[in-house]
Symmetry: C2
Subunit: 227 residues, 2 copies
């Protein structure tokens, strides 16, 4: 019997952070701007806004080409690499960086292709109203190069995390990204997993169809089967 | 038995146009810009791009607030309004505007909540490479106010079309939008339906989670059950 992806029996969890100029941005990237362009209240015909963002702002994904100059660009990657069964794993709140020991202890089922890591990073999204500016913080939790190697060895194909970057701040950042993208493990960043219990879901993560190719803002949701 | 939304038995049709500065834009909106910000080939650490767009550029959706100043903003609209069973109807290539007669003749099943109209507009997306600039054209096919009233009377809740605007160019544009959005019929615009046969699909249309609320660029796909 066919079960439709949406509708009765399915609960939608939106794991995307709201997009405004209040979102934290990577220190070397320009601030995101989301501003009124025309407004009915000002006598215009309709409400239209202007958006200025980097391709790695807010909830977004990294194509291989982001760090690997001969790697695949966004439009060369099939959409089902970002959509399908996934596992949400909880990393202990005490962890400052995700190491192989944390991943070993997280009860990740063998064969998991899409893995989302809920760390203490998610706490800051939990009560955010989307309007109060959140400054960038260097002490976020990322995956160490050894953790990245664990993901490669375990055959993970896509990794998601709940802050702006999958790698820790500093020199390890580039190493983690290069290990992952160089081994064709795709990346989704700045997810809000604060309300997501560990376990199995269907991930639907659809990026803007940018022709330029290094990555793109996306909308990411988890479908939970309830019946 | 649970059928996963992605994977064997499901074919994904991407109905989003590629996003670059080559996309046509509404005459009163600024040109979209998608440009390199950092490039490994230029000595930078990674490839990152800068995007400047209006909230109604490329494949995008309209929230009620786009034309109705006390209407719902994007984040007030549940995601499953844009996601779920939908019907693709073919409007004859000869039609200059979508009128009730065309809709009557299109064999749209009773109870259809999400309806996508494939008109001759889709022809121009068929062979486009995403890079050659396409100028805006005023003679696109839109839905007349009488057509909009037909959709209201038939209980349609979401309408998609294959050019930048659901209403024809000129004074009728505002009337069609106001009729639809004022009666809580949501809108998706600039779809590429050139390769889509009429019939039933599951629509997955996920917009950027813009906090500003009049609409947003989106990624739209159709899922076709093949087994």
């Amino acid at each position: 019997m066919f079960t439709p992806p949406f509708g009765p029996g399915t609960r939608i969890h939106d794991i995307t952070i709201p997009f405004s100029e209040a979102v934290p941005t990577w220190p070397t990237h320009p601030k995101s701007a989301v501003e009124p362009m025309t407004r009915i209240a000002a006598g215009d015909r309709s409400n239209v806004s202007r958006i200025t963002i980097s391709s790695h702002a807010g909830t977004h994904l990294d194509a291989n080409w982001h760090f690997i100059d001969d790697g695949r660009k966004l439009l060369e990657i099939p959409l089902d690499r970002w959509c399908g069964p996934c596992w949400v794993a909880a990393i202990p709140e005490a962890a400052d960086v995700v190491e192989p020991d944390h991943l070993e202890a997280a009860a990740i089922p063998p064969g998991t292709e899409r893995l989302l890591l809920r760390t203490r990073n998610s706490r800051q999204w939990a009560d955010w109203n989307g309007a109060t500016p959140i400054p960038f913080r260097e002490d976020y939790v990322g995956v160490s190069p050894a953790g990245a190697q664990w993901l490669i060895d375990r055959g993970v194909r896509m990794i998601g995390i709940d802050y702006l970057s999958v790698g820790p701040y500093g020199p390890a950042n580039r190493i983690t990204h290069t290990l992952l993208l160089g081994n064709d493990i795709l990346i989704v960043e700045t997810l809000d997993l604060s309300r997501i219990a560990p376990g199995p879901y269907d991930l639907v993560c659809l990026p803007l169809k940018l022709a330029i190719g290094d990555g793109a803002p996306c909308r990411a949701i988890l479908l939970e089967r309830t019946a």
